[in-house]
Symmetry: C2
Amino acid sequence: MVKRVSLATVSCPVGRALDAIGDWWSLLIVRDAFDGLRRFSEFQKNLGIAKGILTTRLRNLVDLGVLEMVPASDGSAYQDYVLTKKGRELFLVVVSLRQWGEDYCFKRDEPHSALVDTTSGRPVGRLELRARDGRALTSSDTTVRKLDPQRTRNAKAARPSR
Amino acid sequence: MVKRVSLATVSCPVGRALDAIGDWWSLLIVRDAFDGLRRFSEFQKNLGIAKGILTTRLRNLVDLGVLEMVPASDGSAYQDYVLTKKGRELFLVVVSLRQWGEDYCFKRDEPHSALVDTTSGRPVGRLELRARDGRALTSSDTTVRKLDPQRTRNAKAARPSR
DNA sequence: CAGTATCCCCCCTGATACTG
DNA sequence: CAGTATCAGGGGGGATACTG
């Protein structure tokens, strides 16, 4: 996928992560994969995405190593798209978005889907960030230690100035 | 910001969250805000974003209630853009992206910025999701309990079919 | 400094039709 | 079903100039 600017080489991990899966559809596909969808048509129907776009996105995610193609579980001639380890480790990204969405993108009492612990069937707890010694941390307890003064993006990399 | 398709009304919190802050620049702006940037020019220089785009994005984030404008701390005639509570609670989204980026978007020994606990100056721990009873959970321990069979997006909401 | 205004291009997106 | 091919459009995105 060609982009205007590339964040693939910036020193900030957030930038690189967004470069990989920060586009409009990718995380939704990953979310659906967590929900058990595997087939082209399942993604297409569930997302309402155009086939061409879906093809591009799936290929991109496969190239990135987030999804992999495996022989279809139902024995058909096609492939299933399943999460790799790299893809499964996007779990907390999806969960963090889910929790924020639940907290701030719904009106009171407006129903939404919920993430449940399969063992107990009860909703999961809140995500937490802790210090090495176990103290819970919020944004005000942390700083980014920058390792170099490099700019956030690699200036002019994407397009020669006219 | 006008989009082709709107996810603002889907029942999945992930979709709604992405509808709000899932575009190319918004989370980068939020990340910079966590890093202490407040001024228009700071964002503009650090992101390398065009001024017009930045204006649009900042306004969108203010409209969403993620950022708010406050009188400039240096007494100048302009405004500072600071995170609201809603914005600060995107912290874990940014952290999850950061940790995934650190794990999968850098070569071995390639330097990257790190999030440190200000008190100890040491890198923070890993994000964790736990069940209500305290057990750590991974993606395979959870399921989404869907509350209605509504489609992921509101079909045809954005554009009448031709 | 902090935007606004304008121009323009390219790519993303979506729709439709087609193939094995 | 699982894509590929093709086309049209619209808007995101960048550069530049301008304003208070």
